[in-house]
Amino acid sequence: MSAPAFDVTSQIGKPWKKPPFVQNPLLRWGLLAGFIAYLIAAYMTIDVNWARVYEGLERGKQFVLAFTSPDFTSRSGDIYDGMLESIIMTVAASVVGIAVSIPIALGAARNVAPLPIYLICRGIIAISRALQEIIVAILLVAIFGFGPLAGFLTLSFATIGFLSKLLAEDIESMDRVQAEAIKASGASWTQWINYGVQPQVMPRLIGLSIYRIDINFRESAILGLVGAGGIGATLNTAFDRYEYDTAAAILILIIVIVMALEYISGIVRARVQ
């Protein structure tokens, strides 16, 4: 082994520093200065009407104070119906969304699918991710009318983009050799997926699914604002009537359910590792 000439004695006794990320010092400091200048300029364009903020503070205070006396009772029937609708929407959309996502995720993993199928599946994912839930919901409400059907379809559609993409990435980063070993035994493609791929991505699939159920529930509260049913519709009505105490009750319920889901998902994910 002949190492290139390097005079070690000139380095001994001198401090060592990690080489900078941007080599050219002029460019390095120029970038930093430019960034700071942009930040200052950007903040200066923010136009705050302080008088308006002062008036608004009073309304904000009322809203916050409503949380100290949430009213679960006077609209309990509406809240119950809205919650039930949201939960049904969430569960139905998650089941359908996840079931559709799995084959698309397989198709969108380059190490499992041939190129044409890969491109099609990646296309579906890109469309699903490009369209924000609210926009999809507005479109679907226009087609199917007000109500939970539009919400259910929106959430299913959004689940596909989310779950397929992340699952496909997990499949792509799996241990190739484990899958190769199954292939070498003469397994068919479906057996190969079942034995070589599925065990490797199962914890991730379960973790993502639970996380998505959680997201779907939260989204279902928003979708009501554009008429796609669920607890969001009840919440919207409460705001329209200035019934902040009822709105507070609904928000508290949403927070409790989301926290409960978060807690359950933590337990399940720890179990499946």
């Binding site: 050799v177 190769e180 070993a181 070498a184 035994s185 003469g186 397994a187 190969w192 034995y195 065990p199």
Partner: protein, 265 residues
Amino acid sequence: MLRLDKLVKTYKTGDQALKAVELEVPEGQVLALIGPSGAGKSTLIRCINRLVEPTSGKVQLGDVELTTLSSSGLRRERRRIGMIFQEYALVERLTVMENVLSGRLGYVGFWRSFLRRFPQSDVDEAFRLLDRVGLAHMADKRADELSGGQRQRVGICRALIQNPALLLVDEPTASLDPKTSRQIMRLICELCKERGLAAIINIHDVALAQMFVQRVIGLRFGAVVYDGPPDGLTPDKLTEIYGEEDWEATIEAIGEDEDEEVAAQ
């Protein structure tokens, strides 16, 4: 039994991993494939069962030409070729039993394998093999709970339950300690002898190879530069395979090791 005829593999990057390799392996012969990293040992083995597609040349197993097979024909032939991997390549989240039975996937239909309802004869054979390697009590453990040596023994069971005619063994001892390495090599060679299996074993450890096999193939830059008995590996030959280095110590060590082995028995 196995014949490679002018086997060439050129990767997309332009690297020629195999340059017209000719090799004939008779029934029941265990041979070691040695050579420096990047010499094409892994590629050679994987070209045989077409985990890597050879660029040109022929692979003849029995009277079947493997390189031209359709995907279903290839699956059928892969059943006759067991493979043992470096780093074991067990599916870590499956149980030991599932890993062993996965060697039968080429013989059972999808639904049977999906529901884990393998024929009784397969299950019996799996238990017999696990017992042979001393792991029958571990059948329901998850593969990632096992130690390195245990995992490799499960890997051996998985290859053998295929009832293969040929074993391809890729660096079986690369991540094992010296003692376990010997045990694994001995086990592979014993099982090959019991079942009259031919085997190609890729191995880094020249001394270990010389201890256990009847024939050594030296590969350098994708070409066979040595083909002969293990004790024909002189310092000159090793230099030809690996490049300049002091080989006397390696060769002496083998002599001593063998003495120890005899003394220990």
